[in-house]
Amino acid sequence: MASEHTVLQFSSSSSPSSLSAKVHPLVIFNICDCYVRRPDQAERVIGTLLGSVLPDGTVDIRNSYAVPHNEAAGQVALDIEYHHNMLIFHQKVNPKEVIVGWYSTGLGVNGGSQLIHEFYSREVPNPVHLTVDTGFRNGEGTIKAYVSVNLSLGDRQLAAQFQEISLDLRMIEAERVGFDILKTTAVDKIPSDLDGMEASMERLLALIDDVYKYVDNVVEGNIAPDNNIGRYIADTLASVPKLSSTAFDKLVNDSLQDHLLLLYLSSITRTQLSLAENLNTAAQIL
C-alpha cells in the first residue's frame, strides 16, 4: 500500500446517486415482446437502449431494439454487426436518439453482464443497464437500472460494481393511451370519445364523493384531522375561480351557444352533402 490513506475509490466522475433514468413504456413493451419471441434455448434476451440525456442529467430511455447474442460458460458472443445495422436504421428515422445503454431480462446482474457492459462502455461513456424481470421471480415484475462504477485501489482496477440508480416509472405516455387498453389481454374495441368522457367523469365524481365523506367524518370526529389533507382541500377549492353567478352563467351559456352553433353548422353541411349527392344522381339520369 502506497499510503495509509488509500481507500477504495469510485472513479466515476458523476456520483451515481444523482443519476436517474426515465423509461418510456414502449421500451417495456419491446422487451417483453422480444422475450416472448426469444430463440428456444436462450435464457435471456438483451438489447440496446436508445434515448437521450435530459438537461437535468436524467437519462431518458425512449426506444430499444433486441440484439441476438449467445452465452455459454462465461463467454458472451454479441452480434455486433447486427447492433450497428439497427443503430444506423434507427438513427435514420430519428437522429436525436442515441445509445444510452443496454437492457437484459432477468432479476439483477449476473456474470456475463460485465462483459456486455464493457462492450457498451466503448459505444457510449457510462451506459445504463436496465434489467427487467420477465420471470417474475420474486413475485413482482422488478425493473431496475444500474450504472457501473469502477472499483479501484490506488491506480489498480479491481472490479466493476453495478450501482442501482433511481428509475422513474411514471408513464405519462401509457396513461394517455389508457391502462385499460394496455393492461388487459384482449380489448374488443377502442373506446370512443364519449365513452372515455363518461369514465373520466365517473372517476371525478367518485373522488369528490370521497372528499365529502372524509370531510364529514372529520367534522363528526370519526377521523383525526390531518392538516396536510386539509390544506390540499383548501387549495383545490381556492383554485376554482370566484365568479359571480351571473358572470358564470353568461360564460357557460356563451360557450354552450358557440358549440350549438357549430353543431348546427355541421348538420347543415351534412344535409347539404346528401342533397348534393341526390341531386347529382338525379342530374345524371337526364
Partner: protein, 331 residues
Amino acid sequence: MANRFDICEDFQLQADNVLVESNPVILKIIKHCKEFSPSLVTGQLLGLDVGSVLEVTNCFPFPIREEDEEIEADGANYQLEMMRCLREVNVDNNTVGWYQSTLFGSYQTVELIETFMNYQENIRRCVCIIYDPSRSNQGVLALKALKLSDSFMELYRNNNFTGEKLREKNLSWVDIFEEIPIKVSNSALISAFMTELEADTPVTQCDYDRLQLSTSPFLERNMEFLIECMDDLSMEQQKFQFYYRSLSRQQAQQQAWLQKRRAENAARKTAGEDPLPEEDPSNPIFKPVPEPSRLDSFLITNQISNYCNQINGVAGQSFSRLYLTKALHED
C-alpha cells in the same frame, strides 16, 4: 402462440374483417407519429394474415422521405434490410400494410389511395392504420384502421369515374373507405407488467386531458379546414355544371344538325337521289365532351363528412364538460 390462434378461430366465425393489434404496435405508432408531429410520417406494419383476422404484431417507422431518386432507392433498401434484421429476432416479417399520421383527420387523399393500390398489388389483404396526434391531446385514442372497398378498387383500376359507371356500381362517396374494427390483444406478460406499473392514483393523465375545458383551438382549426373543403367542393361542382352546360349545348347542336340533314335527305329523296348518312364523325360537334372525374369530389365529400363528425364529437364532449362545470360551480 397456441392461445392466440385459438382466439382467432373464434373470431373467424363472427366477423369478416377483424384486426388484432398486439403488443408494442400501438405504442410504437403513437411514439413515432407524435415525435414528428406536425409533419406527417409513415411506417410499415408487419404481421400475419390468419384467415379472416389480420394480425398486426410489429411495425417499424420509415425515415422522412425526400424527393430524391437516390434516397428513394435507399428507402427501399432500408425497408428490406430492416425486415431482414427483425426476422433475426423472430419477428413476423410479412408486410400487412402501413401506418401514417394525420392532422385533424385529413387523410382522404389521392395519395393514400395510390399507396393503397400499390400495396394491394403485392398483398392480397392490407390495411392502413391512421393515427391522429392532434386528437390524442384530448384524451382520445384516435386510431383507425382503413381499407378501400372492393368495388371502389375495381373502378380505380380502370380509372373510370364517370357518372354512368358510378351509377352502375351504385357507389357513393360513403363507400370508398371501409373502417375495420380494431381489437387489441396484449400478451400475458405485458398485461402483468402493466398491472404492476399502473400507478395507484385514481386519476390518470388521460383524465386530465379529457377534462381540459379549452377545445376552441381544435374546433377552430377544424372549422378552417371545413371551410377550405367547402370551397374546393364548390369548385368541383362548378366543373360539373360547366360539363353539363357544354353537354346540353352540344346535344342541341347535334339535334339541329340532324334536323338539317333530315330535311336535306327528304329533299334528295324527292329528287330521286341517295340519302346522305345521318352521322358525320368528322364534324366536331360529335366529339364527346370529356366528363370530369368524380373522384376528387368524392374525396372532398368524405373529408367534409369526417370534419363534421369530429366537430360533432368534440362539441358533444364539450357539452358534457360545460354541464359538469356548471354542476360543480353550483355545489
